[in-house]
Symmetry: C2
Subunit: 308 residues, 2 copies
């Protein structure tokens, strides 16, 4: 039973994501007090892997995860999942909407259901808690009447029942989570993969443009780019890039080798199937066949055979 | 004694260049009536190599050579030499400047010494001939008094003597010649090499820019680019590129493989020491070491070792 570390407490979206990321196994989920601590549990061998959030459609990149992956012993992402940010509202068994006079949750969660609460629980006050999971505790102990929680919370509170499910003022909010592991065989390419890297470019005019050209010239789609100052001080940046394809793909490996030559630091952060399984189609000039053929052609030319 | 084909007749700059290109051997020089015919002599096995002009500093590219290399059985350049376009003026033994009333040469040559003739042989008429070599014949037979010739012509006409040497109205005019051979081992890299290729780019917006970016991103200097319509009609062009470096250099091979993937046709036209022996310095991100290290790094990453 592999141990999977995640940002606790239990009953949050982080637990739910970690379950989704490991659904083919029956993991022992180990809550940690921070993202850094969850990653360090993997580095220290106390956990086989960690489930951590990496970006949210409303709030953007999760800096603690980016920084935690960029420094320290190398780790890699081996899976991702996208969790819609939709809440369940739990109440005590026998309660109905008209019994609810107070609604508890983490302030971020309360902010995302404000309109729903105003319409469906008019007049109810709000009780801020340290996590969505803690809100369920408040309802259980009677300190609040309703809790806005991650769907997984119900499993920890069988005495509570849902008043509503899939609640969110904004329909499409979602958080992407990664399953992070230590060194070891990478996931096999599936034809619908994403590769994450972090690079520090030499501080020269045009270097970032050249980095992006290395990808563009090989027909590699860049789906995300974030910059974070390095510890060397403001002015030097580390760029986090997500690109379509697997490092085992010829064009991706070729591009990454190019970045390795060009950048003062390239850290590979993983190749794994995209959550949405959207196929990645290489254009003809960047296909596996094109790379095979060009390598064979070059070998012929270098040997003087000239059979172009 | 290797047979070297060249554009005749004997006694021209083409013969002189062919001697310079093969100075380490004692070739048998075989004049041909055209550049195409000299190249075909190599293709047909009648000659070991051909010495042909490829560009002139005044008149530009020599289309017959470019087209002759781009189609037909593959050939490669294995050496180059740059010949200054400076003429000798030959007269009959015993003649002096004041005896000269007519000056013979190919019209191109006469054009390049017009000022010198006006100043040093005032009043002399001009006699156009089919080649500079033919002009020497005219002087020998008495049909003209002076011949404007390639320096090598004197060797064919020991009865003629130089009235002047190194004559040219424009000081720096020069012609570059290539020694062309059939398939076989390429010249070893010297660190001061040039590589010639011909590419046909897909007719898409930006393709030529991408071709040039493949070179620029690897720090490869492009010293020459010429375009010639392909036989497929106007609108489709073949680009002749000269770039610094040898196909055996990692960055050059890598770039050429990239072009092979991207272009509908890439023909390798040779890697050979530059006539001027100017060293080609790869920038750090394109050095042999950088390529070795990036390949080793990629192998580690793909194997999941992550020791970045």
């Amino acid at each position: 039973m592999p141990r999977i570390a995640y940002l606790g407490p239990p009953g949050t979206f982080a637990e739910q994501a970690s379950r989704a990321l490991t659904e083919e196994t029956t993991p022992e989920l180990v809550p940690r007090e921070s993202i850094r601590s969850a990653l360090d549990a993997v580095r220290g061998g106390e956990a086989f892997a960690a489930g951590v959030p990496v970006e949210n459609s409303v709030e953007g990149a999760v800096s603690a995860t980016l920084d935690g992956l960029a420094s320290g012993e190398p780790l890699v992402a081996v899976a991702e999942t996208v969790l819609p940010v939709r809440f369940d509202v739990l109440v005590r068994r026998g309660s109905s909407a008209r019994d609810v006079t107070s609604v508890a949750s983490h302030p971020h969660a309360l902010a995302q259901v404000r309109r729903w609460v105003a319409e469906r629980l008019p007049g109810a006050g709000t009780v801020p808690t340290s996590s969505t999971a803690a809100a369920a505790e408040e309802v259980e102990t009677g300190s609040a009447d309703a809790a806005v929680v991650a769907p997984v919370a119900a499993q920890h509170h069988p005495e509570l029942v849902p008043l509503a499910r899939g609640v969110a003022d904004v329909d499409d909010a979602a958080t992407r989570f990664l399953l992070i592991r230590g060194p070891g065989p990478l996931p096999e390419p599936t034809g619908a993969d994403r590769t994450s890297i972090a690079v520090v470019a030499h501080d020269e005019v045009g270097t970032l443009g050249e980095v992006l050209s290395e990808l563009a010239l090989r027909g590699i789609n860049l789906s995300r780019i974030e910059s974070r100052p390095t510890v060397d001080g403001l002015g030097t940046y580390r760029f986090f890039l997500d690109l379509d394809g697997h490092v085992a793909d010829a064009r991706v490996g070729d591009a990454l080798a190019g970045l390795h030559r060009r950048c003062s630091e390239v850290r590979f952060l993983g190749s794994f199937p995209k959550a949405g399984r959207e196929p990645v189609n290489a254009r003809p000039s960047a296909s596996e066949q094109a790379f095979r053929e060009s390598a064979a052609w070059l070998e012929r030319v270098r040997s003087g055979r000239l059979d172009s």
